[in-house]
């Protein structure tokens, strides 16, 4: 719903001053491509494409005439799978695919990244890597909303919220400066 993919039955979703659901599908899709990076749950690769092509998908849909391959390669290096750029997505492991999805969500330098269980199928080491990367992205001005069951993620959050029986409540913010939070 926050990504502009599911029409709410009531209420509004704003990105800046833009009410997402007042836009038609074409305009909303374009906005999503540019401003909202989504890391869906599970394995979300297009298997007919290479890793690099998957990362560049948004630019393939909305080309601007420039070559973004170098940026994509830089992102892939950052998430640790630069050496797999020309591999087919179907050849990746679960963790590698997750990193690819992160790179794909970051390629347009969106205002918001919505990540649904981004560390779901990663080992401890990779979990740390991904969370660090998302924290770093947040530090560069991108709002990162992370939905997770991963306790470790608490250390990286500026704001912690809890969903309990359909109710969302704020547990803490960096202003509280809780010891478990790794606030910058």
């Amino acid at each position: 719903m926050m990504a502009g993919l599911l029409q709410p039955t009531e209420g509004q979703v704003f990105l800046g001053d833009t009410d997402l659901y007042r836009l038609d599908d074409k305009a909303l899709s374009k906005l999503r491509s540019k401003e909202i990076g989504v890391i869906p749950q599970g394995q979300t690769a297009l298997y007919a494409l290479t890793v690099l092509e998957n990362v560049l998908l948004s630019w393939t849909l909305y080309p601007d005439g420039a070559d973004h391959e170098a940026e994509a390669m830089e992102l892939l290096e950052k998430v640790g799978i630069g050496h797999l750029a020309s591999s087919m997505a179907s050849e990746l492991s679960g963790g590698e695919m997750r990193r690819m999805a992160i790179a794909r969500a970051m390629i347009r330098k969106p205002s918001v990244i919505l990540a649904d269980e981004p560390t779901g199928d990663l080992d401890d080491e990779n979990t740390q890597e991904v969370l660090k990367l998302l924290k770093e992205t947040a530090g560069q001005g991108t709002a990162v909303l992370l939905v997770t069951h991963e306790k470790e993620a608490e250390r990286y959050a500026d704001i912690l919220m809890k969903m309990d029986s359909g109710r969302l409540s704020v547990i803490s913010t960096c202003e509280n400066n809780l010891p478990e939070q790794n606030c910058f």
């Binding site: 990504a3 993919l5 599908d25 074409k26 909303l28 899709s29 374009k30 999503r32 491509s33 540019k34 989504v38 869906p40 979300t44 690769a45 297009l46 298997y47 007919a48 494409l49 092509e53 998908l57 948004s58 393939t60 849909l61 909305y62 080309p63 087919m88 794909r104």
Partner: protein
């Protein structure tokens, strides 16, 4: 962005199994449309060609020749045969009221010839009066037939400059006719003097079934056109009443039997084309539905990265169009490879005049088949996407 870098192209190339299945379906569809249309067009052209080349309103033949095994066999089926009547019949017919153009022909069948493994029909025409074959001869040959010169039909294995021998009469091939799709393709044409020399030679060798004829006094048939102001029925009636021992046949009625068969065959082929189109469309809708169902996750990812619903539809449509055009082209190419070289075999199987259309019409048929295949591909993808 080049087509090779486009998402639909990459999807097709990197899913070879799926793409091959769709290609086979479209190829089969295109082949059936193109091949079927070539056959129906060839049959229609063959009949039109036969009508044009008979070129006379009435054919007058000896009474005993007007049976299925003689006249129609020669003219419609391209079999060999010959029969004779006295040449005085020509003068009698010429003198009748309502008769316009009149010209006689003399027939003979060779026993074997240098050009052919089977006997060929030899047709002698009078260059002075002929109005049925001469126009076509002039088109291919350009001048009147000289003594001992022959013009050969397109299907015969003889060429300009060859020397042939019929009943030991040596003749020179002076021309080769364009393809007509009729009996003329397997016949040899010469003037009266040449065919009379051949009949004489056949009589001397006791190889002619008519032992007691005088070649200078016989003809095989008279082609008649009604004069202006008279109907074909007028001429037919006059000939039947005033001339004895003959059978006058209206050429149109001769062709009507063949037209009926042709209609039957073309109707069946057209029905089959429509059925194949509908069947292929249904199978392709099903195939696209399965493919789209299988690709739901892929489409969800595309939506996530910013593809609009219309964009997704466009991707499916472009993939369908690419497959359809390629499959259509393969089908057309296969159609050309299968139907063109086996035209004469199809002709023999159907036993109907068969004239393959010229390059221009073939190109048009190819474009229509391609368009029908592409339409089926696109339509089925849209129908599947909507479901």
């Amino acid at each position: 962005m080049g087509i090779r870098n486009s998402l639909p192209f990459r999807n097709l190339v990197r899913r070879p199994g799926r793409t091959t299945l769709l290609l086979i379906l479209v190829t089969f569809l295109s082949l059936s449309i193109f091949g079927g249309t070539i056959i129906t067009s060839s049959l229609a052209s063959g009949l039109a060609s036969l009508e044009a080349r008979l070129g006379a309103d009435v054919m007058v033949v000896p009474y005993e020749a007007a049976t299925k095994t003689s006249l129609e066999n020669i003219v419609l089926q391209g079999n060999t045969g010959y029969f004779y009547m006295d040449r005085s019949k020509l003068d009698k017919i010429s003198a009748l009221e309502g008769v316009g153009q009149v010209s006689a022909q003399i027939y003979l069948a060779s026993t074997s010839s240098g050009c052919c493994s089977l006997p060929v029909q030899i047709i002698g025409i009078d260059p002075e009066t002929d109005f049925t074959i001469q126009p076509w001869l002039r088109r291919s040959y350009g001048r009147d037939l000289e003594d001992l010169d022959v013009v050969v039909g397109n299907d015969l294995n003889a060429f300009v400059g060859d020397d042939l021998s019929f009943y030991d009469v040596d003749v020179h091939v002076a021309g080769k006719l364009d393809k007509t799709g009729t009996y003329m393709d397997t016949a040899v044409f010469c003037n009266f003097n040449t065919i009379r020399a051949m009949i004489n030679a056949s009589l001397e060798k006791n190889m002619n079934t008519f032992a007691d004829i005088n070649p200078d006094q016989v003809i095989s048939c008279v082609m008649v056109n009604a004069a202006e102001g008279y109907t074909v029925d007028d001429v037919l009636a006059a000939v039947k009443i005033k001339v004895k021992g003959i059978r006058a046949v209206q050429t149109k009625s001769m062709i009507s039997g063949i037209s009926q068969s042709l209609l039957g065959v073309t109707d069946v082929i057209r029905l089959m084309i429509v059925l194949v189109w509908i069947l292929a469309l249904a199978i392709m809708v099903l195939a696209f539905m399965l493919i789209i169902g299988e690709r739901k996750k892929e489409f969800a990812i595309l939506r996530v990265v910013g593809a609009s619903r219309s964009r997704l539809g466009g991707i499916v449509l472009k993939e369908a169009l690419m497959v359809s055009l390629l499959g259509g082209l393969i089908g057309v190419a296969l159609g050309l490879v299968i139907v063109l070289p086996f035209g004469s075999m199809i002709e023999n199987m159907l036993n109907l005049p068969f004239l393959i259309p010229g390059p221009g019409r073939l190109a048009l048929l190819a474009v229509v088949s391609l368009a029908a295949s592409a339409a089926a591909g696109c339509l089925s993808s849209v129908m599947a996407a909507r479901k």
